[in-house]
Symmetry: C2
Subunit: 706 residues, 2 copies
């Protein structure tokens, strides 16, 4: 099979000509709708209906097959039924039409026969160098070019506003609904794509294409699941590098949601927690409804990002400021105290009924004297603690609104800091004001809550650009060693040996034979009492549950008794287990944590961290990290735990050794990465975290390999 | 001072005449704006400008004072400056104008002088029987009557849609912004009121008035804080009884928010956690943005409530169903499996590419054959597990949309179950469909997420009506005994004695003198070792911190040593503390919990429950209950803890005695209630929760009384 060519956005979204295979006269049919739409939308290239049964379709010359077209043609819309698609793709390739959008359903999503057809289609695509969107998709739209390689309601939306937002979605009907609503709220679009079964072109590749497109400033996607989580993460890092935000709406978060996904697309759906971790790790901005897409598009398209989390707020109604503050602080923004200089300057300007705190209330008095607004904006923007300015104008309208808009536009020009207006006034009562702000590129959001959300997203993205370290080499899979350390479930001693290879401290221990009499003082030499005594067997991964563990054994006599007890208990509970011996280890002390790793089908090795003991599962307080990662990311994992305060100094109790824990978590991630595809799962439970400076130690471990 | 008359909604919102004290020719001034607005809005009663300096104002006869009016007049708009307000109120009372809206600022919110003026105004109001809205407010609007006793942007909104929603807010500018946005999204209004400083009429009284109004079906309020939390709760219970939902937006949730509130209104701002608990307890529905107010108004105004949490979902796009399911399940709804009968019937109707699971995907095939939609609606509505039906129509438009709307409207008529449509199509492309649904009273929501939110609110309210037990007698303050058990901080023994009076089990214990030699075996008779030994002193509330506690004392010799140690440690750490003796108590075992109570300035006695030990403050996993309450509410408090799973059976460990804990928590609430105003705070820390059947026991207690 040949090399896969990179998706050519120019050909796909700005084709010189479009062939419609399965062209129809009837615009209510798939093969007719896109011809009609593209004709109406003013596409400048050639439109070539293909159908052996017609001479003309919708007034255009109709070709019997694609090879008869003989004109520059870069895109085929494949509207024939599933069975005919593989040969249609082959014909496209032979005719030099190297991009196809396959609208038909009846492939992998319907079962085995469909899957075979999908494989045949993909084989033809690879063999003849055709890149395929779909199958089972609602198609693509290139708004600037008037390309509507699509059917259904989107193909009726022929006067979509052009703009710099591109979008892709794993549910065509729902995705184009989002586009529809967002457009109605003022968002201008560039490229849209429904990705369908993603037999060839996948969601990450589409997003990558959008990022490379100079005409796209922001992309959003609706996904239910991707097959290759790491490539999705690479698009996140790329979006940070390029400064083009990537908004992502993840569907199928709950089990019921995921069930529906299974019956809807054939994509794998990974766990939502891991997706969220991946988004945070690579700077993807998660959104949850259409309003957010609209609002974030507005604020990001200004091109301004804040330098820090400080927001200065000026309002004409106290309530708006309070509601903004509630939401902003909740989202990680800061409303800093204004500097003494700022406060002093504001006091000279703001009316006595107002407030010069942040959020400042300049009062409805600005209706009478708009220089108050101009001056306060200027003063607050000068404050070095203010990284972005938010103006809350309530329902201001008419001439005062126009004057306010002019003042804001003039002051905004003098700064690079983001300036956002929260304004619930009706456009019809403030047409000129709206136009003034829009012309000045100042985003207007309808409520203080939505304004706070948008301001927080600006800072989240700006902060991710500063703090997120791209680790593309590691995450491309390079460096994964797929180390072989045996296979299957390893016993505690063997599991800990791997840990030791990765510098992970384990409890000092001695392995002795299962015969209690063989325990000699010499063998436990170097270990100080009290010790833990555990039966050693790959067949007994959960040894505590069957009485295979004795803790706090205080002297040698008790040790002998304990050793024979754990072996006897194991033999009684699991007569067929192969018992390899007894492990005697020093007792450790500190806070019990659990560190584990799984090999996620979507994201590969993922490290989990949580409280140990009964708390892990009862509190469900766990954080995740996509392996491998450094100490910085491990620190973030710790701080994401609700229970992280247990590690801090508290009422005179000294702080615990967070730093050693972070190093250990990072080392586990290196280990999980190195084990690569050989890793099934691993549990280090418990890890004891001592007081600061005392370090951490793994007291038990269970590694499972392929 | 005379009795306060109940607010007369008829007089306030439908006055026979309105006097405007401080009438102005200039409609940009407070005294001019409301005259102009009320004139324009078509108010049918008399409008009587009052101003000794004019003969005519805005074409109307102007009166020198209110006593000259001599016509039926029920409402005064007081637009003079603060200093003149008390005498204006007196004049109103004398002239029989018994309702006033005071727009002027310059009262309590500005400091001491303003506070004196506010008291003078209130005195006049009480003396002459006038009820006052404000001062420092933006006024009231009665949309059906054309009363605009208001100024600012709302007084420009003269063609507000009439409807059955009434609203009140503690920030006029922000509140009227909400009204503005909600109205633009289709909400019709009845009464609106900005409550200002609430010197006389408070928020709960306004809401109570709305609930009594036959023309109001739903109320919402924006509050920053109320003085009397219990009266707010009574409005919640009343809303449940009457079946008229009360939506509440709480501002000033964070500390910064609360700071801004302090500088904005003079209202007390209680802790947000306690407010939320109060809302849950009495069925108030909390909202957080304007969209929710719009959406909830739509679904509640249909008058239909679901019988259970089951939602049946029919969609034409898989993605919408998935997104709806994600949100709905997260919000406590259930998407039950359809019954076998339903599934069988659906299989006969739904196209093969679709899905007959819940959410069902009837596919875009319904565009071609709308009987599919009619039949599937009928089938799903018949399923007894389906309490409400949600239809997700994506961007359907044109004729298919009209047909779908007709089908939905016809099917909806045959059922009492709520039917909600999620639809992102443009109104302009489906005018007739929208009109058909609106006429049939079927709410249309723009996105699946907002649809889920609205459906969840329906169930939350319906469920609250079923489950919430009103406890008006107890919560009116009746039954509060203000029991006297001493004053100040009580020592552990005295604290526990009060607990015992309220049937709360405490550890068995003996108090001995501080002289270790006095400890006789006889004194500890009846207690079994191991015991705890604690120094007893009201001056040492946190005795562990200074070495005043020895746990697990195993025999009598050690006991003597321990007793003298705790006394010595106490003397060393706090030489001036009065040491009353030593408490010897049996050790208890189980999960450590903390139960406490505070006397909240807004809500009175409030009980708190959380994990004990270091977990309380580090995990911040605490739930609240407004005292007093029964065992049922105590169970809910337990289940609201994230850590409640610690109480359940887990990996073979038996379940803990939840029921005994619930009884204890309820008993603590009875105790806090009985102590009434004498309570300052109490801590029972720890309470040990044993295995099921073993009960609970308070091991330490600290009661602080006035």
């Amino acid at each position: 099979m040949k090399n896969i060519k990179t998706l050519n956005a120019e050909q796909l979204f700005h084709p010189r000509g479009i062939a419609i295979i399965g062209a129809s006269q009837d615009r209510n049919r798939i093969g007719g709708h896109s011809i009609y739409a593209t004709l109406q939308a003013g596409f400048k290239g050639g439109i070539y209906p293909v159908n052996p049964n017609h001479e003309k379709v919708q007034g255009l010359r109709c070709y019997p097959d694609v090879s008869s077209i003989k004109r520059p043609c870069d895109l085929a819309i494949v509207a024939v039924r599933a069975q005919l698609v593989p040969s249609a793709i082959e014909a496209c390739g032979k005719a030099g039409i190297l991009n196809a959008v396959v609208l038909a359903a009846g492939f992998r999503e319907t079962g085995e026969t469909g899957d075979t057809l999908e494989q045949a289609m993909l084989y033809a695509a690879r063999e003849y160098g055709v890149r395929v969107i779909g199958p089972n998709c609602q198609g693509i739209v290139s708004v600037h070019s008037g390309v509507f390689a699509a059917f259904g309601s989107v193909a009726d939306e022929l006067s979509l506003r052009t703009g710099a937002v591109s979008a892709a979605f794993q549910s065509g009907g729902f995705g184009y609904s989002i586009v529809n609503l967002a457009e109605a709220s003022g968002v201008g679009f560039r490229y849209c794509a429904s990705s369908g079964n993603e037999a060839d072109v996948t969601m990450p590749e589409l997003l990558d294409t959008f990022l490379d497109d100079p005409g796209t400033a922001l992309s959003f996607a609706y996904i239910e699941g991707v097959n290759d989580g790491r490539s999705l993460m690479r698009t996140g890092w790329k979006s940070l590098e390029l400064g083009k935000p990537l908004l992502l709406w993840k569907g199928a978060k709950t089990n019921t949601g995921a069930q529906a996904a299974a019956s809807h697309t054939a994509n794998l759906t990974g766990s939502y927690d891991i997706y969220r971790t991946a988004f945070e790790t690579c700077g993807i901005l998660e959104v949850n409804d259409v309003e957010q897409i609209v609002d974030l598009s507005k604020v990001f398209l200004t091109g301004r990002l804040p330098d820090g989390k400080g927001v200065g707020v000026l309002g004409i109604s106290g309530g708006s400021g309070i509601v903004f503050a509630d939401e902003a602080i909740n989202l990680g923004l800061d409303l800093p105290r204004f500097s003494d200089q700022t406060t002093k300057a504001l006091l000279e300007v703001v009316p006595v009924f107002g407030s010069v705190n942040n959020p400042a209330d300049v009062t409805a008095g600005v209706f009478n004297d708009l220089t108050v607004l101009t001056k306060t904006i200027e003063i607050v923007l000068r404050d070095s603690g203010v990284d972005q300015l938010v103006l809350l104008l309530a329902s201001m309208s008419g001439d005062p609104a126009t004057q306010a808009a002019l003042a804001i536009a003039a002051e905004s020009k003098k700064t690079d800091k983001p300036v956002i207006v929260g304004w619930s006034g009706r456009r019809s009562r403030a047409e000129k004001a709206y136009a003034t702000l829009e012309e000045a590129g100042i985003p207007i959001l309808p409520t203080p809550v939505r304004t706070a959300n948008a301001a927080a997203a600006l800072w989240r993205f700006a902060n991710a650009r500063k703090t997120v370290r791209t680790s593309q080499t590691a995450l491309s899979g390079a460096g994964r060693k797929n180390l072989a350390f045996g296979s299957g479930i390893l016993n505690e001693a063997d599991s800990k040996r791997i840990l030791t290879d990765f510098n992970i401290p384990v409890t000092r221990e001695v392995k002795v034979s299962a015969n209690a009499n063989s325990i000699q003082a010499a063998q436990t030499e170097g270990l100080s009492f009290p010790v833990a005594v555990k039966v050693l067997s790959v067949d007994i991964p959960h040894k505590s549950d069957i009485g295979g563990v004795r803790l706090n054994v205080g002297d040698e006599d008790t040790l002998k008794i304990a050793a024979s007890e754990v072996v006897e208990n194991a033999r009684a509970a699991m007569p067929n287990a192969h018992i390899e011996g007894v492990l005697i280890s020093e007792m450790a002390d500190g806070l019990e944590m659990l560190i584990g790793a799984v090999n996620d089908p979507t994201f590969g090795p993922v490290v989990t961290l949580g409280l140990g003991g009964i708390f892990t599962e009862t509190l469900r307080d766990v954080s995740f990290g996509i392996a491998p990662f450094g100490v910085e990311e491990a620190r973030r994992m710790i701080s994401r735990l609700r229970s992280h305060k247990l590690l801090e100094s508290y009422r005179g109790r000294p702080a615990l050794d967070c730093e050693a824990l972070a190093i250990l978590v990072s080392d586990v991630s290196q280990m999980a990465h190195a084990l690569g595809d050989n890793l099934v799962e691993l549990d280090i439970n418990p890890v004891f975290v001592g007081h600061r400076g005392e370090g951490v130690v793994a007291a038990d471990a269970l590694v499972s390999l392929k």
